[in-house]
Every structure is written in C-alpha cells, then in structure tokens.
Symmetry: C2
Subunit: 448 residues, 2 copies
Amino acid sequence: MAKDSDTPKSEIKKLKKKLRKLRGKLKDLRKETSAKPAPQVSPLAPTEFPELPPLAGVQFSALAAGVKYQGRKDVMLAKLDAGSTVAGVFTRSATRSANVLDCEAKIGIDSSEGAAIIVNSGNSNAFTGSAGDGSVAAICEAVASATGLPAERVFTSSTGVIGVRLPHDRITSKVQDLVDTLSPDGIMGAAEAIMTTDTFAKLSTTEVDLDGTKVRINGIAKGSGMIAPDMATMLVYIFTDAAVDREPLQAMLSRLTDATFNSITVDGDTSTSDTLLMAATGQSGATPITSLDDPHAAAFEAGLRTVMMDLAHLVVKDGEGATKFFEVSVTGAADDADARLVAMATANSPLVKTAIAGEDPNWGRIVMAIGKSGAKADRDEITIRFGDILVAEKGWVAQSYTEEAGAAYMKQPELVINVDLGLGDGAAKAWSCDFTKRYIEINADYRS
Amino acid sequence: MAKDSDTPKSEIKKLKKKLRKLRGKLKDLRKETSAKPAPQVSPLAPTEFPELPPLAGVQFSALAAGVKYQGRKDVMLAKLDAGSTVAGVFTRSATRSANVLDCEAKIGIDSSEGAAIIVNSGNSNAFTGSAGDGSVAAICEAVASATGLPAERVFTSSTGVIGVRLPHDRITSKVQDLVDTLSPDGIMGAAEAIMTTDTFAKLSTTEVDLDGTKVRINGIAKGSGMIAPDMATMLVYIFTDAAVDREPLQAMLSRLTDATFNSITVDGDTSTSDTLLMAATGQSGATPITSLDDPHAAAFEAGLRTVMMDLAHLVVKDGEGATKFFEVSVTGAADDADARLVAMATANSPLVKTAIAGEDPNWGRIVMAIGKSGAKADRDEITIRFGDILVAEKGWVAQSYTEEAGAAYMKQPELVINVDLGLGDGAAKAWSCDFTKRYIEINADYRS
C-alpha cells in the first residue's frame, strides 16, 4: 500500500521497481525449474487407437463402482462362452496378491464350461491378510451366481494401492449390472477401467491367416509404474477366436512372455499383482490347434507375439513420467543369458535413464551398465552404437564419433542403443523409458 | 511504459494490477514446482567435521592440476613410509578402469619399501583403451621418480567422467609440487581433492587402545552417485599407525566391506573405478598384529569397522539429491543371504525411495520390495515397523497403526525401516537415501 506521504510519481517509481523485481524472480524461477505443465497424456502415446473388432465368443462390460475414485470406470468384466480355453502367467513375487494366488490355483484346469474375468482398479487387494482371500471369494461367488458359471471359472485381478482392505461390496453390488451390459464391442471400456496412473488405454490387435481361415487376436493392458520383469508384468488380457487347446496356449504364452513383457522395465520394481490372462474362444471356425507341433501353431504364435510385443511397448511408452522410449539391443554375448543381463542392466540403470532424459549421449554410463551387469565382457571387444552411429569400439570412443552426432541422435523420442560384446552369439533386447522429474512427482505423491 | 494519455492514478492502477497478476503467477509457479533453491550442501551433512590428528608414517598433499575444472583441488598424494603395509578392495565391474586393474595387480605383494597413493578427480580414465594403461604407467613413473619409490608401490585412482582420455600430463607435471608440499596435516585437503559431485568432504577417525598403546585410524571417502554395492564402492582411503601385516589387514578389510560399503546404495549403479585402499604405517609402537588370531586383532578390527561404517553412511548422506537417510534392518529371514536380498531390494527400490522423498508412509511398497527380492517370505509372517511404530503384521496392517503416526515418523531426516520375516535367524542391514527430483537434475546434466 502507498503511504499517505507518497506522491503519485514516487509511488509509480516504487511500483515499477517492485514489478521489475518480481519479473526477475519469475524469470529465475522458470529457468531454475524449467517448469512445464505436467502432460495429461504421455508424449509417447500412439496418435490413434486401433479398432478392435468383436470376437465371437467373448463379451465385455465396464462401469464405475467407486472402488477408490468416484466417477471413473474401475471395474471390467469379460465373459467367455463355453468351449473357451484359458491360460495365464503370473508374478513370482513372494508377496503376491490374493487374486493372483486364486488365479494360479484355477489356471491349470481343463474345462468345457465358459469363463469370466473380472478386474478392478483403485485397490490391489494385496497384503490384506485373510480379508483379501475373502474378497476374492465374494467376487467370484457374485460373478458365478450372475452368470451361471462355476466359481472355479471366474478369474479376478485387482490393481491399485497395496495393503488397504478391498471394499468388495462396491464390486459385488455391480456384478449384475456388468452382466446385463455385456457386449461384443465393449473391449475399449474394459481397457479404460483397468487404468491406474496410465495416461492412455493400451490396445493391440492382429489378424492371422490359418490356412485360409482368419483368426483374430485382441489384447488390452495396463501398467505404468512398478513395472519390471518377473514372469508376467502388469495386467494384460488377450483374447482370440482361434481354437487352441489349453496346453499349447499356455506353452506359447509362457515362452513369449520372456521376450516381451519380461524384457521391459520402467523402474525395476515388480508388482504383487502382475497377471497375464489369455482366452481362446475357438469360434472362428479355424482348425483347432491341439499341440505346438500343429501345422498352424507357428503362424498363430507369431501373431500372438506381435500383440504381446505391441502391448509391452505401449506399457513402456506410458511409463510414469516417460518422455523417451529406448531399446537396448545386445549381440555378441557369450550366451543369451549374458545378453539379457546386459540388456536389462542398461535398461534399468538410473544413470542411463537420466542421461536419456537429459538428451545427453553419455555412453560412458552404458559402459558402466555393461560392467555391473555380471555378464562376461572384455573392454576391448565392446562396440556401442546409437542407432547406426558408431560410438565406441576397441575399448575406446570411435575415431569417427562426434559429440554433435550423438547429441543430435538423443533428441529423438525413440532411441536404439546397440551393444555388441564381441564374444559369441548371445543376443537379447530390452525396452525402457527415460527417468524424469515427473516420475518422482508421481511417486512421491501417489497415495497421500 | 506508461502511455502519454495515462494519468498518474490510472497508471498506478494498471501497475498494481500487473503486480497482482505477477504475484499470482509467481505463487502458482512456486506451488506447482515447490521449487526450492538447490542446496549447496546436502541437508544430511554432518554439522561439524572431525579433527583428524596426524598419523606417524603418512603425509598428504593436494593441489589443483586442472584435470577437468579450473581452480579447484583435483589431485591428492599420500606418501607412506617404509615398513607400511597396504591392502585393497576393488570393484568387480567387468569394465573396470585401467587404474583399478593396475592396483589389483600390485596389491597382493609384500614389500618393506614405502608406498604412495595418487588420486585425481574430474576424469575416471575408464574405457580409454590402451591410452588409459599408458596414463596409469606415466603417473606411476612420475611419482616413483619424484619419491624414489619403485613404480610397483605407487597406487592410482581416477574418478569422474568415463571414456575421455585422461590428460595425465597435467598430473605428472604437478607431481614434484605434490611431493614438495607433503605434510602430516594434509588429509583434509586430500579429502577435498577427490570430490566430484560430492557436496561435503567425508572424514572419519577413531582411536583404539591396543593393551595400553593407542593407535589411530583415519579415513576419507568420496562418492555420491553411481553408488551400489559390488565389492568396494566409491573411493575410500584409510590410514592407521597400527602395525598390521598385509594378510590380516587384507582379510579384515575384505570381510568388513560386505557389512559397510557393500550395504549402501544411492542408485544401484556401480562405478568402474570403485577402490578402497588401506595402509598401516606401524609407527604407533603398538605390538604388531600378525594374524587374525592375535590378541589385539579383534579390538583393531572393531575400530576399523567404526571408521568404515561411518564413511559408508557419510557417502549415502551425500547421495545425489538426498534429503533423507534411511536404514533397512531385516531380521527373521531364512538366512543372512535372504536378509541381505530383502534389505538391498528395499534400499534400492525407486518406489520406496520416492515414497520416502514424499514423506509418504507407503508401507505397501515395502511389501512389494520384499516380494520381488527373491528371498523366501510368507505374507502372513511378515512384520514391518517404522522405527518403533508397528505398521503391519500377520499379512495385514496392524490394528494399532494409524496413518498419522506413520506420516509423522516420515518427516524425520533419518529413518529406520524394520522388517521381520518371521522365518529364521537371518539378519542384514542396508542404508540408502531418498530419490528426489534433484537426483534427476544432477544426472541429466552431469556431462553436458
């Protein structure tokens, strides 16, 4: 406030001075923090969502049950016709959730009856003691009763905060609504209902020609934090109208998991709820696949791999705070296991991930990650490339390499780091995202 | 600028409006980023540095050689009298630096001659091909020539950026100056010269009474990023005037490393240059320790443990961007190895570390870390405490636990997370710091 003694002129002078000072402060603060508004959607999100055509034999519904938040879809139901087969891969965490334990107990059983998958977000039902087991049983009973399926054919997943009792009544009271609104077109709503800190829904689809008969594979996934490879990662549901017996379906799913979902990482942390469920309805009319040696098994597996890889990459692209997506491709390792050690150590390294966030071609940190991985490596045999740019070879920076070329490469949103260890034929790939301040923001505030 | 048509009053009004607007913007921006000026010194730094009294038989010097930056001390020399023994522990990284390889080759040799340790910061001389080996040889020759020691008794370390040729001429041209300025009181300067992104010098000292004769142990350390347990971590130099034969000295150093430097982590990344060197001058007059079974060996080892633990904790307290220091104390594991798995998985988890940064008592993430650790665990046997506060037991949150108590506890700068697995007698501790935006800032910009 101006004092009474101030003349207008001196007041103007004072105010201008204050303005200058404030503007300076504002400028400094902006510079210091380079604050940009938090993105609503990951900058790596795909520009358009694929259309997922309906599959004969499976229907979806989703609605808002208010498990944790109000006014957003948080429960989905998938119902599979009789004759469907179901396979699954689950987290190996020693503290896995009641839902995962229940799914594991049910997954290895052949059944000609249908099946249902019900998933909620907002609460993981993990580390909730015997109450957690009770919640799973109550949800399975409710779905069984509303669908006429046996409870043994109802699979559940829960994702969200750990250690808070799941208010399962909010879910069971909506089960009839879920059943009443089932629709072959409902998969997009289901993909939305399973999101937590995800910024976009993750969908993938492919068509496979099995000797003249077309079958389709549709998949949805969620996950953006607590993502690291340990058996299955995050929540993934894949559906096909192909006819595939349970055993070959399980075998394909398990072996494809290593090179897809088990080769991605956001933060090296492993959820207690990671679940990958797959169902085959068999209603396409294509010849059933009864074993891995069947003539069409390879074609189907290739299609399944496409969908799994696609979903795995989408999960990384929605990594918490991610602004860059990168692949680590390792060749020349003593064996595949060593190649995987190097790929994962590099993809998980906070120093590599922060360098990528800073668009800094700091290849020395890749050398560090190779060194700490535990894999056999010889400094003088290592070759490192950023995309096609030769960076280091023979134990040192390449003569042709320029910092300018490296820096220009790092400005791209999607990067490939190639490491050749020069020792053998071992190869592996891993995918990860950069490590930004936004990750810290999201995870320092998630629960409170 | 005021327009000519403006009256003083309307100008005042406009200026005040602008001021209000700017103030609002400033407030919003501050809120959005909760920007505080980057601390010059870690908030966890000790409030005073210990006095390190001189030790008979060892002298220090340090100066600015301009290895990377101008005008700051970046080279230190320690010279040990004839009769000193030297022991060491080094990184197991497969891409360890030329200096580490050279030290490893020299460390296991008994010698009655003196020794020298020369260390530079600003450049790690790692992944610099055969030029790196040449740099080490040149530095060792220069020190040997200026001190009269054989080159085999000169130990070198380099810390800083990886993959850039070490301009060793800048160091060798200063060696005579270093030798000329050696002083028994020079250890503080030495501790400063080895700093890179460290915000304070790390020193520790203790006195041990060996049956009436006092011996002293002095130590210095550097390290604040690329810190994770793998043999020795970071750079540590410890000196004593006790007389300890090389073999028991090496044995003590190696076995104490596991519970000290190998039990701390800042980011899970392992440097290519990690080095721990220890020298005993034997000039205290105390009875020499010739084997681990000697009557004074246990007392000396206890003193050494104190200094090593102290330095290890100081390294974590200067972790890049750290605002909290935490201990993970695991008991009740099936065995010690399992306890260590849980302690390190928790101490390394980005989700645990960001929760601590956010002062969020998110104990579910500790359950997650236990689960992913690979250790044997039974959900219903796990007990978790924050300090003395019982948080979870019997597979669920404890009845007595309140979120308020947990949140109040998390506000402290130093925290203890107690995990009892309820399975056996295995126990282990690990120490870590929180994971903040400042870590990202430091590491996204370190090199460029």
